[in-house]
């Protein structure tokens, strides 16, 4: 099994879970009898917009890590299993 196939399997499952969460959220949001929003972010659908912004922020963070993280020193603590003789 290739790396992409393995990742594709879990990606599919996760997408289904996330879409189910998002769908349930939209349904609850529409069904709720909430008061007037105090700004646009708290209006109906505002959660979805904030979620999209969160995802873009996380992806940009990964891009930044890729751009700036290269060539650095190995982080301390890496490669050391947490095993020791009794002290």
């Amino acid at each position: 099994m290739s790396s992409n196939q393995a990742r594709g399997g879990i990606v599919g499952v996760l997408i289904v879970i996330c879409l189910a969460l998002a769908g349930a959220g939209v349904v609850f949001d529409l069904a709720a009898d909430a008061g007037p929003p105090f700004w646009i972010g708290s209006a109906r659908g505002g959660g979805a917009a904030l979620g999209a912004v969160s995802a873009v922020f996380a992806v940009l963070g990964a891009y930044a890590a890729n751009a700036f993280g290269r060539g650095g020193a190995k982080a301390s603590g890496e490669g050391s299993k947490d095993v020791r003789p009794d002290a």
Binding site: V11, L14, A48, S54, A55, S76, V83
Partner: protein, 568 residues
């Protein structure tokens, strides 16, 4: 009637000493027993001050219980019980002692009622935290422990100066009370506490310590030190406006690095900084609802990040790394650990049904009350980033196919899995029955975290953020972080600043050598001149010409003085 008025933290400190001599099997019993005894002492006592005395004219209040320190105390002691079970899977009496000392210092600091005792207990906790890192078997832990010691030393110095300035106003000002953040003494103490909670510019110590500690040590470090700081800010600086922008920066920095950092234990530490930022922002708002939300959110943050660090610690224990780029195959080899990482990832993301949702909804309500739009947006969006950056990223990384030739890997030891599951269970239990948590908060609180609009909004944030992130990751659009350390503030003082310091040191050494050589030459020449002169004085008739000249000069000088006095 007999009543114990012992500070619960003292039990843990005494147990830390006993742990150094106890055999392995007895240590876990000792740690759990000490935590249970401390919990009993806490719950058995009525609210109010006790065990007060005077020392050198200063009031010393060793136990002062109220709703604020009770909720923090319960959370920390439950966390210690779970951490003790987790720690029983490995052998390290020094680390067990260090964890108990750190917990004992933190719990003692919660319950003391005067500033001097608070400083002492808080410093003891900091010392214990550094010892936890020193006791780690991981490479580079010694240097990380030294750095942590420096951070805590700086914090201790600042808080000590602040307390000394405050005490100069009179002995009665030693009793714990609300402080003025704009005064000089309050400013010093506030700065010290901001270091403790990992405010911007001081946020690197937590991920440095957590990344270098062992699995058990990192779990404890992610609970005790920074949450003591949150408690102290709530105690000393409620409604201090400066806290709101500082906390907003903590949320942004923490969220960014939680999504960007390849090492998931460090990423989790950044996530903890972001959630601590939420607590501190609420403390800065200062309304009764906001303060209650801050306390509740601190409680749930302790539960959820303890569970996440323990789950990640399982991978560290077996693999030796928690870098997302090196977790391929973990899902098959350690399925329980992978499941625990995902569940605890949901917990830190405040998913409905988990404890953090109960406090997160309360936090949003408090921010909306003051119409703090930016802060509200940051608090609302944070779970989406943590869900993508911690839970989903870890699961996707763990389910990549491993490289050929990867060896067999067993699940983590039973005690570690049990503790991780306990932590996750606790998050779910409080999440499903949040009335218990609300009952611990000060004041009567009637709040419905499972109202449709609140649950709907949270599911939207998590679902949409997750779907977009996973879709982009599946399409290969999410860049894998490059190997190497992600730059942060500590890169300056371990990189350019360290190089500049070494260069400056070398230049100064050479300058000192050159100055020393110049001074030696100068002194040698002066000495030679002086000895020549002394020799001339010792033997005034060695050279007749010179002696007569000296005699003539001396005679002329005496004549001039006498003439001057005669004329005057």
């Amino acid at each position: 009637m007999f009543a114990l008025t012992l500070n619960p933290g003292f039990v843990l400190i005494a147990s830390a000493i006993l742990a150094l001599a106890a055999p392995r099997g007895a240590r876990v019993v000792l740690m759990i027993g000490a935590a249970l005894l401390a919990l009993w002492l806490l719950l058995d006592h009525e609210f109010g001050a006790a065990a007060a005395m005077a020392q050198m004219g200063l009031p010393v209040v060793l136990l002062d219980l109220d709703a604020l320190n009770r909720i923090f105390g319960i959370a920390l002691l439950i966390a210690l019980i779970v951490a003790a079970i987790y720690a029983s899977a490995r052998r390290s009496r020094y680390e067990d002692g260090a964890i108990l000392l750190m917990a004992g210092g933190a719990v003692s600091a919660l319950f003391v009622g005067d500033l001097v005792s608070f400083v002492a207990a808080s410093s003891l906790s900091g010392l214990g935290a550094a010892w936890v890192v020193f006791a780690s078997p991981i490479e580079g832990a010694g240097r990380a422990g030294a750095r942590l010691l420096m951070w805590h030393g700086l914090e201790g110095l600042l808080i000590l100066v602040g307390v000394a300035l405050r005490l100069s106003a009179g002995a009665e000002s030693s009793v714990l009370a609300r402080l003025d953040a704009e005064g000089i003494s309050g400013g010093f103490i506030l700065t010290a506490l901001l270091i403790r909670v990992g405010a911007p510019l001081a946020h690197v110590w937590l991920k440095d310590a957590v990344g270098s500690a062992s699995a058990a040590g990192a779990s404890a470090l992610s609970v005790f030190p920074s949450m003591l700081g949150v408690y102290a800010l709530a105690r000393f600086f409620p409604a201090a406006p400066i806290l709101v922008p500082v906390a907003a920066c903590m949320i942004v920095i923490g969220a960014f690095y939680a999504a960007a950092e390849d090492d998931l234990r460090r990423a989790s530490a950044y996530g903890l900084i972001a959630q601590s930022g939420v607590c501190i922002a609420l403390i800065g708002l200062g309304s009764p609802l906001a303060l209650a939300a801050a306390e509740g959110h601190a409680f749930t943050t302790i539960c959820s990040f303890l569970a996440l660090q323990m789950a990640l610690g399982n991978a560290q224990h077996r693999l030796g790394t928690t870098r997302a780029s090196q977790l391929a195959g973990l899902g098959r080899k350690m399925p329980l650990t992978t499941a625990l990482v995902f569940v605890s990832g949901l917990a830190v993301s405040a998913a409905p049904g988990f404890s953090a949702h109960a406090s997160h909804a309360l936090a949003l309500e408090a921010a909306a009350f003051w119409e703090m739009r930016l802060l509200w947006a940051l608090i609302a969006a944070l779970p989406g980033v943590l869900f993508a950056g911690l839970a989903l990223r870890a699961v996707i990384a763990a389910n990549r196919a491993p490289a050929k030739g990867d060896g067999q890997l067993h699940e983590a030891p039973y005690a570690m899995l049990l503790a991780g599951a306990l932590g996750a269970f606790f998050c779910v239990a409080v999440g499903l029955a949040p009335g218990w948590l609300y009952g611990l908060l000060p004041g009567e609180l009637s709040f419905q975290p499972f109202a449709l609009d609140r649950v709907g909004r949270q599911l939207e944030v998590l679902g949409v953020a997750g779907a977009i992130y996973v879709a982009l990751a599946g399409a290969g659009s999410v860049k894998a972080p490059a190997t190497g350390r992600l730059p942060d503030l500590d890169s300056l003082y371990s990189g350019p600043f360290a190089r500049a310091g070494r260069w400056f040191g070398a230049v100064m050494m050479r300058a000192q050598d050159a100055f020393g050589a110049f001074l030696d030459g100068l002194l040698q020449r002066a000495g030679e001149g002086a000895s020549t002169w002394v020799r001339a004085c010792d033997r005034p008739y060695a050279s007749a010409g010179d002696a007569s000249a000296w005699l003539a000069i001396a005679a002329a000088a005496v004549a001039a003085v006498v003439a001057g006095q005669t004329n005057g």
